[in-house]
């Protein structure tokens, strides 16, 4: 926490409180995505065939690849916390570097995946899509919305990681004060958690 002359007496450090705050934020995110999953459930229930056909249009390889790297990045974040707790700044930075790299790769994959579909004429409101049945419109509408909002969370995660890396470099985060890293880690696991469900629901239905 930054030192502020006005509030020096005010500042109290409470890592446990900060963590509770982060968990509460995670709960709001769970419900936000939860509602998207609810919408998905309703429309898949009403259009089972169209959703199956839509799912077969998606590239299982790219989906699996993104799942695997995102899981690895979750592990590297968790390990970076171990490294910081052990006071190993260099290892922590390296592990966060890997995470950051994976986050970017995930988005690049997403870019190509979306790009190919948009080139093909498949995007919300496109003529090619509108000619297809209602279920297909809904499937791709949800696909873009849900993976899009997930991608925005990845972007925010990248921002957070850059901040945390700088804090570690300047010794603001160290072996006895690492709540920022811990909370950023929690956030990143949440992003992973969402993807764990998005992946089978979009890529693996057949």
């Amino acid at each position: 926490m930054e030192k502020n002359t006005e509030h020096t007496t005010h500042v109290h450090r409470d890592d446990e409180g900060d963590k509770l705050g982060m968990w509460l934020f995670i709960f709001t995110e769970l419900l936000l995505f939860g509602m998207l999953f609810l919408i998905y459930a309703v429309y898949r229930f009403r259009n089972p065939v169209a959703f199956q056909l839509g799912g077969e249009e998606l590239d299982v390889f790219i989906g699996t690849f993104n799942t695997v790297i995102l899981l690895i990045s979750s592990a590297t974040v968790a390990m970076s916390i171990t490294a910081i707790q052990r006071g190993n700044k260099k290892q922590a930075l390296m592990l966060l570097g890997v995470t950051l790299f994976i986050a970017v790769v995930f988005l690049v994959n997403k870019y190509f995946e979306w790009g190919a579909k948009i080139e093909y004429g498949f995007y919300p409101g496109s003529e090619a899509l509108m000619e297809l049945g209602h279920g297909t419109i809904l499937f791709f509408g949800l696909y873009y919305v849900m993976s899009g909002i997930h991608a925005i969370h990845i972007l925010i995660g990248i921002g957070l990681f850059i901040y945390v890396v700088r804090q570690i470099q300047t010794e603001k985060i160290h072996s006895t004060d690492y709540i920022w890293l811990e909370n950023t880690g929690l956030y990143w696991h949440l992003v992973d958690l969402i993807w764990i469900f998005l992946f089978p629901l979009f890529y693996l239905i057949h």
Partner: protein
């Protein structure tokens, strides 16, 4: 305020958890080619749920932290499932 020592997870345990997650991902992709009819989604969701539980328990540290986080998390998930269930009172019988 609890000033208890923080639990430090070892690299080995992280690798083990990651291994389990990757294995489950592989299983999830593999079973897609099996024809199980309406159980497809159920199996996929069970595997995803297991993966999520693993991430929550180890990566998100619920196992080692104050129990209150685990209780809250379960409560929130139950709340969501109840909302989902009640919504389907409408859609299943319309």
């Amino acid at each position: 305020m609890s000033e208890e020592k923080h639990h430090i997870s070892s690299y080995t345990s992280h690798f083990l958890v990651l291994g389990a997650l990757l294995l489950l991902t592989a299983v999830s992709v593999a079973v897609t080619s099996l024809e199980m009819g309406k159980y497809d989604t159920l199996v996929a969701m069970l595997i995803a749920g297991t993966k999520a539980a693993i991430v929550l328990t180890w990566f998100m540290h619920l196992r080692f932290d104050n129990k209150i986080y685990a209780i809250f998390t379960v409560a929130v998930i139950v709340l969501f499932l109840l909302v989902l269930y009640i919504t389907f009172f409408d859609y299943s019988y319309r």
